[in-house]
């Protein structure tokens, strides 16, 4: 959201913007990455995504009935949660996994807090870390791209963590997504197309993604190798879920700071945590954890970055 809250006298021009419209545009912006995922990993990626979406929407519907609130399945927010969750899963998981994850995302990540607009944490990420903690073996085996008989392969980051030499991966391969990984995170090109739509429409601002990616790059450049200032920062940007996380999950309207200043702090925090976990943590990838931790700190950031009311000190 841009900071264009100007107050002026009537008549006002009405703009056909609504929650549903924004949410469905976000869904549209995620489509390229989804198509890329299906091309790279085959049809199983499509089933995982569809099931996650279906489970998310049904859970939303059931909770609407239980709490006797307005049923909000048509506004598209549950669809986004389902898609984002599926994009964070490997394509070869058993098919009940996305279903369980999506139910958990919506029930615990969103509805327990009161539904749309009230969640403290990004629901999709809540689902992802739950699955990660519960069934690590499914969450960490990835399929080799374009393989028919589902040969497993490690993600570039996991290979790096285990100290293996990464087999002939050029930056172009990383950019196009020709490597193992989660469904929606591998094809940077498709993700950037989607991100461009959102940025041009003004649905997300540049503050969080840019500071997030820049901080991660800077930190991995400084500390990422045996000597200082020699880390492979481009590799860290192009691999793992950084681009997906920075543009689509760290920019959640509800769970991130309101002011530009707060968003800059949020982005830097995410970047630092991601880089620290990648370089020294036990997990190869830290995007989900970093964003969740900063989600938790968001109310606190908001409190100290309030805009000054005009005319007061």
């Amino acid at each position: 959201m841009k900071n264009n809250l100007l107050v002026s006298g009537s008549p006002h021009i009405h703009k056909p913007e609504s929650i549903a419209r924004i949410m469905w545009t976000v869904v549209l912006s995620l489509v390229p990455a989804g198509i890329a995922g299906v091309i790279i990993f085959g049809l199983s990626a499509l089933w995982v995504t569809l099931l996650a979406v279906l489970a998310a929407v049904s859970t939303e519907f059931v909770f609407g009935l239980l709490t006797k609130k307005k049923i909000t399945i048509l506004d598209g927010s549950a669809v986004i949660t389902g898609i984002l969750l599926a994009f964070n899963l490997p394509s070869n998981v058993p098919l009940w996994l996305p279903v369980v994850g999506a139910v958990f995302s919506i029930a615990i990540g969103k509805q327990v807090f009161g539904g749309l607009g009230q969640n403290i944490f990004n629901p999709a990420l809540v689902g992802r870390v739950f699955l990660m903690a519960s069934w690590p073996k499914y969450m960490t085996t990835f399929v080799k791209p374009f393989s028919i008989d589902a040969v497993t392969s490690a993600t570039p980051l996991a290979a790096l963590k285990e100290g293996k030499i990464i087999e002939h991966l050029s930056y172009l391969d990383l950019f196009l997504g020709k490597h193992g990984g989660c469904i929606g995170e591998v094809c940077i090109l498709a993700l950037l197309i989607g991100a461009a739509i959102l940025l041009i429409k003004g649905y997300i601002s540049w503050h969080i993604p840019v500071t997030y990616i820049f901080t991660t790059a800077l930190f991995t450049y400084i500390f990422g190798a045996k000597t200082l200032f020699a880390g492979d920062w481009l590799f860290h940007i192009l691999s793992g879920g950084l681009i997906l996380g920075a543009f689509f999950m760290a920019t959640d309207y509800v769970a991130t700071p309101l002011t530009a200043q707060g968003q800059l702090i949020f982005g830097v925090g995410c970047g630092l945590l991601t880089a620290i976990i990648r370089l020294w943590g036990g997990y190869p990838e830290g995007v989900a954890y970093a964003i969740l931790m900063m989600n938790g700190a968001t109310p606190f950031i908001d409190r100290y970055t309030k805009n000054r009311i005009y005319g007061t000190k």
């Binding site: 615990i108 327990v112 903690a133 519960s134 069934w135 690590p136």
Partner: protein, 196 residues
């Protein structure tokens, strides 16, 4: 109020864990398996009964101003007895429960009962109150640990129940404990609202 009621109130109506929300640290920390839960429950019940009895016995001699330190010493004595017994007879359980055995001293249920009940009531009533609270605490522990052991390891008391069930590891972890107790409390609130 009948003597029986002194005992039964601790089980459900004033259950220390779910209704009074006291003594959560050990409840969450040791409830990974039912065996641990029962062990912790028995140790805490022993301390509760012992300290309730002694506090009730000496309630007329203790000066009001220093009553809390006195209670703490009484409780700590019983905790030490429980700790040493456990070390002697069941070293495996002692290792599993770790620092949470000495921490029964600061379990709010024990001190809470001494302060709120045993110091005002006679021996028999205090004994029953301590027993009831102890059993209520044990029941809550067994419930939580059964849920966690089943979901987190696919077993109850070490026996596999359903073949092919994929254990949800998170319930064996700290966050799973917090989740279980949060959802259980929510569920009980929901049922209470329904009845009212």
């Amino acid at each position: 109020m009948g003597l029986i009621k002194e005992f039964t109130k601790g089980l459900i109506r004033e259950n220390p864990t779910f209704v009074l929300v006291l003594g959560l640290c050990p409840t969450l920390a040791v409830s990974v398996s039912v065996t641990n839960g029962i062990g912790m429950g028995i140790a805490a019940t022993f301390v509760l009964i012992g300290s309730s009895l002694i506090v009730s016995l000496v309630r007329d001699f203790i000066p009001d101003k220093i009553r809390i330190p006195c209670y703490i010493v009484i409780i700590a004595t019983f905790v030490t007895i429980a700790e040493l017994c456990m070390k002697a007879f069941s070293p495996a359980l002692d290792r599993a429960l770790g620092i949470y055995v000495p921490l029964i001293v600061v379990n709010c249920i024990v001190l809470g009962r001494a302060e709120a009940y045993a110091c005002k009531n006679n021996l028999a009533r205090s004994f029953l109150d301590g027993l009831g609270m102890g059993v209520g605490f044990t029941l809550a522990l067994v419930l939580i640990s059964a849920i966690r052991e089943f979901l987190g390891a696919g077993q109850i008391l070490g026996h596999t129940l359903i073949k092919g069930f994929e254990p949800i590891f998170v319930f064996g972890m700290p966050s799973g404990a917090l989740l279980v107790i949060g959802l259980l409390l929510g569920l009980f609130n929901f049922l209470k609202d329904r009845k009212a």
